[in-house]
């Protein structure tokens, strides 16, 4: 592809050659000779570039390896560095003198060392390597798209960009916790069970002595208590407590509300990290852990188990859940295009090229009859035709006026121009409504060839063609995505999510209601809990990692499920994620004064006449905007809104804590100390209730 530098240089030498060869060859042949030599040089560079481009660039191959702990792995651990190794193989016999290789950055990772870019020549039949180290701070899915390759000649006249696609995904498992790391160093069985809760003691194969009883035939000889038998003069057998492992079921909220936020730092990611750490620590204590994920629609559960495979599966599940992204319902198609188009250009340059994915001018024409009032143009045309056909006076008047105008304007012209002018005048006087309507029609529709409309529609069509090609829906799919906003928005959202690109999502609907409250998740969670209670054997610990703070009255199903669980002597712990920008409710009150109190006696607030003036000015949009802007400047509206929302959130959290506390569930915030340690303490307490005498 010719660069701007190459274009200007070519224009200049052609100009000099034309001047030298045709205008001044008898003054000096040097300009012609110089320009001809430069043209030859330019052509030879072009041929060389084409040769390299076709023979070498098109045949490059990419191989990717991800290594952690010195060996190639199919998935990586969060928080630990891993090495990305790329091999770019040039199997052709033609080398590339200058290439820039850039591995496309992966979302939600940090570069630890090395560089993902390389400036290098690529010799013939050789392999170039790029190695760098990344670290994923949180669980999720890593997607490597491929390698961007830019090739140019040494003078910058030609360039080509290709993308060596090699999409591959790696799961990032939650941070690995070692076996010793999460175990307590303090005495475990020193806690008293809460009042009203009785220990469940059963004979079993544990190590704590439960009771002594008379020997029964069939008892193992090693279980005979010899001292007691000697004392009582009959055989006595020892009974030990049953070592029942403590079960813990994690309920992880994966609804739309917790998926919001920057990639790798969402509420869901934090909850997933806590769940991963709890699962690993509990497994290290030989406890049994299960996982249930739920959202607004359904819940998926894994029964508690203790095997390594179960643990790996659970961590995979957590990684997949952590990578979920919020839906983009309500986002305008234009905004989605703005995100998706550059991405598609980066990833599919050859499919987005205008040579293979074009937009005909006819498609940009804006049809007038699609408008509601478009029929008016047709009516005007029909009326005009009726006038011409049925009304003789209309025709005579037109001829009369045309003749008069011709005599006055071009009376002294020769015959044929005069005849042409007369014909034009007749057409005008007879069909002027049609001509004017046609002009209006033309200018109305012509606008589609220019401006934003053209850009937007062209981009949309190009994206639609790529989607239709990927989906295999053919030309039907192209037109559907071009015409149908809903289908297009859904497909673009899927495209963006597949490539882990976030787009700005409106948090509030047109009525000002928060769109991500996800109240439908309450019954889903309640059902999942009831199911877990149904499967339970002994006292279990249910850890609910969910954003329940804003549910309000919709909490009722969860409260009922908690009551049932408590009635079966299960323990409940609710861990609520806390938004990073909302201060803790435990902070001093004066730091976050109540808005109403702060402005209660503020004379500068609009009141009385000022308020009436505000209402008057707010009747039109411009006045309203101006007034709101002035108020925002005066009272720092953002601060007021933020404080109000903070207060509202604190109140919701208190309500949640009160409602669930009433039925015996403990509610903690995820950043209230170490959430993992809190869960482990509760597990220990459960364990203590069983084994302590």
């Amino acid at each position: 592809m010719l660069s701007p530098r190459g274009t200007w240089f070519l224009i200049a030498i052609v100009l000099v050659f034309v001047i030298g060869a045709f205008a001044i060859p008898y003054f000096s042949v040097v300009p012609a000779l110089v320009a001809l030599t430069l043209l030859l040089w330019f052509c030879s560079e072009w041929v060389l570039f084409q040769l390299r481009s076709n023979a070498a660039v098109s045949r490059l191959k990419l191989h990717r390896h991800v290594l952690q702990g010195g060996r190639e792995v199919p998935m990586v651990w969060a928080g630990l560095g891993f090495e990305v190794h790329l091999d770019i193989e040039n199997p052709s016999r033609v080398g590339i003198p200058f290439a820039v290789l850039e591995d496309r950055p992966v979302v939600a990772t940090e570069r630890v060392s090395g560089s993902a870019q390389l400036f290098t020549p690529i010799p013939a039949q050789s392999t170039i390597s790029i190695t760098y180290t990344l670290k994923a701070p949180s669980a999720g899915v890593l997607r490597f798209e491929g390698l961007k390759l830019r090739v140019a000649d040494l003078h910058g006249f030609f360039y080509r960009r290709v993308f060596l696609r090699n999409p591959v995904e790696f799961l990032v498992l939650p941070p690995l916790t070692d076996d010793e790391g999460r175990q307590r160093a303090t005495k475990r069985f020193n806690t008293l069970p809460p009042p009203g809760i009785h220990r469940l003691r059963r004979p079993g194969s544990g190590s704590e002595l439960l009771d002594l009883r008379d020997y029964r035939p069939g008892d193992q000889p090693k279980m005979i208590a010899w001292k007691a038998s000697a004392r009582r003069d009959r055989l006595i057998t020892k009974e030990f407590e049953n070592d029942v492992p403590v079960r813990c079921v994690l309920f992880l909220d994966t609804s739309q509300g917790v998926r919001l936020g920057p990639p790798g730092n969402t509420l869901l990611t934090r909850l997933g990290s806590v769940a991963g750490a709890v699962a690993q620590a509990a497994a290290a204590n030989r406890d049994i852990v299960g996982l249930t994920t739920f959202d607004e629609v359904e819940s998926k559960g894994t029964l508690p188990a203790r095997t390594k495979i179960h643990m790996i599966n659970m961590l995979r599940r957590l990684a997949e859940a952590s990578s979920l992204q919020p839906g983009v319902a309500g986002v305008a198609p234009e905004q989605l295009t703005r995100r998706a188009y550059p991405l598609a250009q980066d990833l599919y340059p050859e499919l987005m090229s205008r040579k293979v994915n074009s937009m005909p001018l006819g498609r940009l024409w804006i049809p007038l009859l699609d408008r509601k009032w478009g029929f008016l143009a047709l009516i005007v045309i029909v009326i005009n035709l009726i006038l011409v056909y049925f009304f003789r006076d209309w025709r005579f008047d037109a001829l009369n006026s045309a003749g008069r105008n011709t005599r006055l304007a071009v009376g002294n012209w020769s015959f044929f121009p005069k005849l042409l002018f007369f014909g034009a005048m007749v057409a005008w006087h007879m069909f002027w409504p049609i001509i004017l309507t046609g002009l209006f029609w033309f200018f109305h529709s012509f606008r589609g060839w220019f401006g934003n409309n053209r850009k937007e529609l062209t981009r949309r069509k190009q994206l639609a063609a790529v989607f239709a090609l990927q989906d295999g829906t053919g030309a039907d799919g192209v037109e559907r995505y071009v015409m149908d906003d809903d289908s297009y928005a859904t497909r673009v959202a899927a495209f963006l999510q597949q490539h882990q690109i976030r787009c700005p999502i409106p948090l509030y609907d047109e009525k000002g209601v928060y769109r991500f409250r996800c109240e439908a998740k309450a019954p889903v969670l309640a059902n999942a809990m009831m199911k877990a209670v149904g499967h339970a054997r002994d006292n279990e610990l249910y850890v609910i990692l969910a954003d329940l703070a804003e549910l309000g009255k919709q909490l009722a199903p969860i409260v009922r499920a908690c009551q049932v669980a408590r009635a079966r002597h299960h323990h409940l712990l609710v861990i609520v994620p806390w938004p990073a920008d909302v201060p803790s409710p435990d902070e001093p009150e004066e730091v976050f004064p109540v808005v109403a109190e702060e402005f209660a006696d503020d004379d500068s607030l609009p009141s009385g006449k000022a308020w009436k003036a505000f209402k008057r000015s707010a009747r039109n949009a411009k006045g309203r905007d101006a007034t709101l802007a002035s108020i925002a400047r005066k009272f720092n509206l953002v601060q007021i809104v933020r404080r109000s929302l903070t207060k509202q959130y604190h109140e919701s959290f208190r309500t949640l804590r009160r409602e669930l506390g009433r039925v015996g569930a403990t509610v903690v915030r995820v950043n209230d100390g170490d959430a993992v340690q809190i869960v482990l303490d509760r597990l220990d307490r459960l364990r203590g209730m069983r084994s302590r005498r």
Binding site: L40, W41, S44, R150
Partner: protein, 327 residues
């Protein structure tokens, strides 16, 4: 363990250039300021070779022009060329070309003072001074663009205009190979000779529209001087004859190149690209019908949604009545 003091004071070597070491010779994304450019141009040994070659070529151009009496032109070219390299002007070679063209017609730089020669084309064949001048210009232009790629930008931006945040890509000096300059000089010499031959060929062939092959060799001395206008078949002027020959060469070359590289590109096309061409063609041919169908489909969907909403509105009060009506 505290670090021990060196027993001898370390004396910096005056000849060493610490700043050069600070520049990463393999990094092409670092944007150079003017001082950085000076350091790269004059202290990086590989780049310095190109700078010396470019300056030598400019000096040669100056000498040739000076010998022709165009000292002012030579000076202007020297200033433009050196300034272009040092201050990184991408258009400097183009200005140099135009200046040379001007001073070839007006050697003293004064418009109107020019001398034509009816035998110039014939005498201008393989003239040593012209060959040297052409070679010098070609070397200067090539060196200028290579240096520009190293000091400012080697690869064009991806769109017509630079995108926000799009980095400038330089060619790192570390990629310059040992044989690069010598190869450039050899290729330049070959191209200069080829250019001379091409110019001779263009002026030795004339159009013969009536013949079975439309070109023929001109007789000795027929087409090379200015006065003869009627000797060329079909009454073409000499300039037009030259024009037709050149257009013929360019056309044949372009068609050949297009055929070869176009076919090669089609051969290299991947399956997705080929499918996209078919899809695009199919859509372009049938888009009007499909558009009409889609409009009706969307209309039907909206209508179904509206009727569903209306029916739900109609049934919901009845449900309330039924539920609330129970005693």
């Amino acid at each position: 363990m505290s670090p021990q003091k060196p027993q001898f004071e370390v004396v910096e070597d005056d000849d060493a250039i610490p700043e050069v070491a600070a520049l990463d010779r393999a990094d092409g994304f670092a944007v150079l300021d003017q001082m950085g450019t000076f350091r790269v141009l004059f202290f990086d040994p590989d780049v310095r070779n190109f700078v010396i070659a470019a300056f030598s070529a400019l000096a040669m151009i100056f000498l040739v022009l000076f010998q022709r009496g165009s000292d002012l032109g030579g000076l202007l070219i020297l200033i433009t060329g050196v300034g272009g390299i040092v201050l990184r002007w991408s258009l400097a070679p183009i200005f140099v070309l135009f200046i040379i063209t001007y001073f070839m017609v007006f050697p003293f730089g004064i418009p109107g003072e020019s001398f034509d020669n009816r035998w110039e084309i014939e005498e201008g064949r393989f003239r040593i001074v012209d060959v040297v001048l052409t070679m010098a210009i070609l070397v200067y232009v090539a060196c200028h663009y290579r240096i520009y790629g190293i000091s400012r930008q080697a690869i064009a931006f991806e769109g017509a205009a630079r995108r926000r945040g799009e980095p400038v890509t330089r060619r790192p000096p570390a990629l310059i190979t040992a044989t690069e300059l010598s190869t450039l000089l050899v290729v330049a010499a070959g191209l200069v000779i080829a250019g001379q031959f091409l110019w001779w060929f263009v002026n030795s062939v004339e159009v013969a529209p009536g013949e079975w092959f439309p070109f023929q060799w001109s007789e000795e001395g027929r087409t090379i001087y200015r006065g003869r206008r009627s000797g060329v078949p079909a009454g073409l002027t000499l300039g037009f004859n030259r024009f037709v020959v050149l257009i013929g060469i360019a056309f044949v070359g372009a068609v050949l190149a297009r055929l070869i590289f176009g076919y090669w590109r089609l051969r290299n096309m991947n399956a997705a690209e080929g499918a996209m061409i078919l899809l695009n063609g199919n859509w372009e041919e049938t888009r009007r019908e499909r558009s009409r169908l889609e409009k009706w489909r969307i209309w039907g969907r909206k209508r179904a949604k509206a009727s569903a909403k209306a029916s739900s509105d109609a049934t919901s009060p009845a449900t309330h009545t039924q539920a609330g009506g129970k005693p």
